[in-house]
């Protein structure tokens, strides 16, 4: 088991004292991601998907419940996790530093670990289907699909065991989207990482994930194998999502 969320609750509070409002972003959510598998997480806006990803990455401390990464609770210092888990976000041009050359961006996670390996950067760029010559370019010189490939290269360069894809293909052209989805599948076969793939688009999640969890109003309403989702989802809400395709 790579990651386990055990009965996790996250509550956000807002407003002045005595009139505090409490918003439950997650309510008693239990999820797990097994070795080498992809868990897809779908749900409408405000269902708690992004909060779940923040909890999984250790960026958000749960109000109640336990999170275990590789069987152990999260270390006190998040830095110890550096290089073990990574994230790929929706807009590659927001997640890449516009003033850094692509090669330097990809090398940055290695620098955090105190490693220097220029060949690994070039190798990684080739693995995601980019020419090594692109390393000296700036993000604005690349197309959207190329930029997303760079973010994937950057996420994989430390060979993490767990990745979070948060709406990673939502901002791309349909044909580019298909290329990136295939790339993620191929890289997963090659590197054997586990992944949490978050999207509002059931079609995408169904294609990429081994198991799917459906969130609604901060709760997981259904978890099932992908095959089930192609044929017979159990929960009323999952059926509605499927019909919308």
């Amino acid at each position: 088991m790579i990651l386990e969320l055990d009965n996790v609750t996250v509550t956000f509070t807002a407003g002045p004292p005595f009139r505090r409002e409490h918003v439950h972003a997650m309510r008693g959510v239990s999820l797990y991601v097994a070795e080498g598998e992809t868990l897809g997480l779908v749900g409408e806006s405000g269902s708690g998907k992004t909060t779940a990803s923040r909890v999984a990455l250790g960026l958000q401390r749960p109000t109640a419940g336990a999170v275990r990464f590789e069987g152990k609770p999260f270390p006190k210092r998040r830095r110890e996790l550096a290089g073990h888990m990574q994230a790929v976000l929706q807009h590659p041009h927001w997640s890449l530093n516009p003033r850094m050359r692509v090669g330097a961006s990809v090398a940055e996670p290695l620098a955090v670990l105190g490693e220097k390996a220029p060949d690994r950067v070039h190798e990684m760029l080739e693995r995601v289907g980019l020419e090594a010559g692109l390393a000296t370019r700036y993000p604005h010189e690349l197309s959207g699909g190329q930029r997303q490939r760079v973010s994937i290269a950057r996420a994989l360069v430390t060979r993490p065991r767990f990745l979070v894809f948060d709406e990673a293909v939502s901002a791309l052209d349909v044909s580019v989207q298909a290329q990136i989805l295939n790339l993620i599948k191929d890289l997963q076969r090659e590197f054997g990482f586990s992944a949490l793939f978050i999207s509002h688009d059931l079609g995408v999640v169904r294609y990429i994930a081994d198991r799917i969890a459906v969130m609604r109003g901060g709760e997981v309403v259904e978890t099932a194998d992908t095959a089930t989702f192609y044929t017979a989802p159990a929960h009323e809400y999952s059926k509605r999502l499927l019909e919308a395709l």
Partner: protein, 316 residues
């Protein structure tokens, strides 16, 4: 029934010093009053240029080589400056990709709406119409204080303030968070339906367009290569490019299938294409595809620009 918008054989080139790019290469499009039409294409297919050409909003580096645009019976490119301003004011609404950049950063939202409405208009009712919560508060805000979804609703309120005949939405949700998209689209379509406004929605998402629009036009290499009822274009594409686009949508794949993205890259034309622009990427290409520009073929309910459209459809 006369068409609200008619684009005939429109070709537009961008000249940037030494490099010339032909963004539109003889595009044809007709939109009837009250119709919702989605224009689908990859980045660089010329859909934004087509959208701006309707309002004569092309940048100064662009020049129209051939073709004409008629909007509500008027020839857009022949109007005097005062005429085109009146046409934009009364007949056209635009919603662009980046909502915050389309608003004036130095002016409160309410005041910007007042500029469009004139002195007698009530900005709050227009903000309410696009389902913004607490319109009074929003009217006092500056654009930088708005979230992307709110700003796009404000932009829509401004575009729809004068009840235009035609709303051109150029990827209105591309810069928004995936989760707010559906809400904003819902507002765009319901507000336009109430006002009886036609919509031309430019997008790259074939399935999303097919879900909301009655008609779909697919653009490739600066031309409209297929045009027809949404369900038919998506379900039984007549043009090989549309078929390839539909195949690459993950929602269409069945269990265990591998997605097949369209091979190669979209073309960047420097001059009028000699043959079919899709020929280098097309699995069914033959000799004449590279040499002759395809004519319009009517296949079932669709119109397709493909030499082999008729024979491919009968073969399948």
């Amino acid at each position: 029934m006369t068409a609200l918008l008619e684009v005939r054989d429109l070709a537009v080139e961008y000249d940037s010093g030494e490099r010339r790019v032909r963004a539109l290469d003889g595009a044809d499009l007709t939109v009837a009053a009250g119709e919702t039409i989605g224009i689908v294409g990859e980045s660089g297919s010329g859909k934004s240029t087509l959208g701006s050409a309707v309002g004569r909003l092309l940048p100064s580096t662009a020049n129209r080589v051939t073709g004409d645009v008629w909007l509500a019976g008027e020839r857009v490119f022949d109007l005097p400056p005062a005429g085109i301003r009146r046409l934009r004011r009364e007949r056209l609404g635009f919603v662009f990709q980046d909502p915050i950049a389309s608003l004036d950063p130095t002016m409160r939202v309410g005041k910007q709406l007042k500029l469009v409405l004139g002195s007698k208009g009530d900005p709050l009712s227009h903000l309410d119409r696009v389902r913004l919560a607490n319109p009074g508060r929003v009217a006092r805000m500056y654009p930088h204080q708005l979230s992307g979804g709110m700003a796009q609703r404000v932009a829509l309120a401004i575009a729809m303030a004068c009840q235009p005949r035609l709303l051109i939405a150029d990827e209105p949700t591309a810069a928004l968070d995936a989760q707010v998209r559906e809400e904003v689209l819902e507002v765009v379509f319901s507000v336009a339906a109430e006002a009886g406004t036609s919509i031309v929605w430019l997008s790259h998402d074939l399935t999303a367009v097919a879900r909301r629009c009655s008609r779909v036009a697919v653009m490739y290499g600066g031309r409209v290569v297929e045009d027809g009822p949404a369900a038919d274009v998506l379900g039984q594409p007549a043009h090989p490019y549309t078929a390839a686009l539909a195949r690459s949508a993950p929602a269409m794949a069945s269990l265990g299938d591998r997605l097949s993205p369209v091979p190669g890259r979209p073309p960047v034309l420097a001059e009028a294409s000699h043959g079919c622009a899709f020929e280098p990427r097309c699995p069914y290409a033959e000799e004449r595809c590279a040499k002759e520009r395809p004519e319009l073929h009517v296949v079932r309910t669709q119109e397709a620009l493909c030499h082999r459209a008729t024979e491919l459809v009968t073969a399948s």
